[in-house]
């Protein structure tokens, strides 16, 4: 038991160390703009569809639940405001980060892990190219920047889903629906959500890359690295979400 705790703390320490190495190598030439843009495309454009899909259904189901709950009080119009708040502060950053973990974090672990076990990372080192700078820095920055954008999109399509259920289906008054959104939501709700998302983005990409970078033992090792990367990143999202929420609100 104690062993397990120590191992976990050791691992955590190494992940933090990796984060600092990423910072260190971020501000040293050469700057790899092309790789960064490719990562941005992979993280952002590549995740767009899944974010739109999950976002709209999340908004729609929240609206459905809200209609029943607020219906008891005959305050159905408040549903828009409450869903908007829940999305912006909590659901969008957390759910978008989880979706991106599944899609992007796992693929980073697999890709870099495969490069590790097939000695491609060693080969890169012998060619005097720093693998952290070449492989990890662009991925971490791309995820840090793209996840907030995906989070905002998640909130927006979530609200579209909410609107369809509440206004189109349940005939809630459109004017009231919008009025409540405006009175409930402040810009700091969106900003805080976006900050959360970018912290999650850094965390999940550092974890994914770290697990891949330290993979060993062939295909099975890469598989194990990918699994732990996803589990670890998901847990990290919930823990950090709690801490950030406690700090911000």
């Amino acid at each position: 038991m104690l062993r397990a705790v120590i191992n976990f703390l050791d691992e955590l320490g190494r992940i933090v160390l990796m984060f600092f190495q990423v910072l260190y190598w971020s501000f040293r030439p050469p700057f790899r703009f092309g790789l960064f843009m490719r990562s941005m495309e992979f993280v952002g454009v590549g995740s767009l569809f899944i974010i739109i899909l999950t976002g709209s259904f999340t908004g729609a189901v929240m609206a459905l639940q809200g209609i029943y709950a607020f219906g008891i009080l005959e305050m159905e119009a408040m549903v828009g405001g409450s869903v908007a708040l829940a999305l912006a502060r909590e659901l969008s950053p957390v759910l978008a980060a989880l979706m991106v973990t599944g899609r992007v974090g796992s693929s980073m672990a697999t890709e870099i892990g495969t490069m590790r076990v097939t000695e491609q990372i060693d080969a890169m080192e012998t060619l005097a190219v720093n693998p952290i700078q070449y492989l990890i820095v662009p991925r971490v920055w791309a995820t840090t920047i793209m996840l907030p954008a995906l989070c905002v999109i998640f909130t927006f399509v979530g609200m579209v889903g909410c609107y369809l259920v509440a206004v189109v289906w349940f005939q809630v008054d459109y004017g009231l629906f919008m009025a409540y959104i405006k009175s409930f939501m402040g810009s700091e709700d969106i900003i805080n959500g976006v900050i959360k998302a970018s912290v999650f983005g850094t965390g999940l990409s550092v974890i994914g890359c770290y697990k891949g970078y330290t993979a060993d033992g062939g295909a099975r090792g890469v598989g194990a690295a990918t699994t732990t990367a996803v589990v670890l990143a998901s847990v990290m999202i919930f823990v950090l979400d709690y801490l950030l929420t406690a700090m911000m609100f």
């Binding site: 890709e111 495969t114 490069m115 491609q120 080192e125 060619l127 720093n130």
Partner: protein
């Protein structure tokens, strides 16, 4: 044991263990400047592990690795990276970047470390490919190549910056006899024309005796014999003789015929 005149690399008392398995147990070896040194030894004896120490991919548990007199073991990453520009390494399993095509793989070192224009880089890549009889595969990815083709592409990538020291981990394993001969000639040519220091790992005794200036035999974690090919042939160590006797071509005949098969 044999002393070389002008070592560019000196390995002194290298120990390396993986867990409880001791692989290197006090390896001493000098690599002579501008010469071809071949490391022979049984499968799993630690040859690949040994050369990975030379280029700094593995750190020894004890011992020193001197390159031009500086100890590589204690170097900081950036200084190590500087020194590595003098090295090229062909990996046993090629280690090509599988997200890049052949052309990008070979161009990679040039793009990273030279200011050459795109045109120049492409023409160098083309030249290396034709040297290795690989014309027309620029757009293929490593997974679309045969093992022998991959090895040759990796070879091209390792030598494209004209490094002073090239490490070849089994350069000819998996190549047909003609291609083996060509690669041998390339290694020999680089040494003769460009004064490249070569470290070769090989299981092919015929080509080892054909190209090597020095041969070192790794056995049970130590270099048990080292010297010019003749000295290896006349070694009185039983392990060496057993190793030579088991190789398919009788080495004496090859040396006697002046290296021509």
């Amino acid at each position: 044991m044999f002393q070389v005149a002008d070592p560019i690399i000196r390995l002194m008392g290298l120990d390396k263990a993986f867990g409880s398995q001791a692989v290197l147990k006090g390896v001493n070896l000098d690599i002579e400047r501008g010469k071809i040194t071949t490391i022979i030894g049984g499968s799993g004896s630690g040859k690949s592990v040994l050369v990975k120490h030379i280029i700094g991919l593995l750190k020894p548990d004890a011992g020193q690795i001197l390159y031009e007199g500086t100890d590589m073991v204690s170097l900081r990453p950036r200084a190590l990276s500087e020194i590595r520009r003098n090295f090229g390494m062909l990996f046993q399993h090629s280690a090509l970047f599988d997200s890049m095509d052949v052309e990008q793989n070979i161009a990679f070192p040039l793009e990273e470390h030279t200011k050459k224009s795109r045109r120049e880089i492409l023409s160098i890549v083309k030249e290396k490919l034709s040297l290795l009889e690989l014309e027309g595969i620029e757009r293929k990815t490593p997974s679309e190549l045969s093992g022998g083709m991959r090895k040759r592409v990796a070879l091209a990538r390792a030598i494209v910056l004209n490094p002073q020291v090239i490490i070849y981990d089994e350069p000819t394993t998996g190549l047909d006899p003609i291609m083996t001969y060509n690669v041998d000639q390339m290694i020999k040519g680089a040494q003769e024309k460009l004064k490249v220091t070569s470290i070769v790992i090989s299981h092919d005794m015929a080509s080892t005796f054909r190209i090597s200036d020095y041969i070192a035999m790794l056995y049970e974690g130590r270099i048990i014999e080292f010297g010019p090919p003749d000295a290896i042939l006349s070694s009185n160590k039983e392990e060496v003789q057993r190793f030579l006797a088991a190789s398919s071509l009788p080495p004496r005949a090859i040396v006697a015929s002046g290296g021509e098969v």
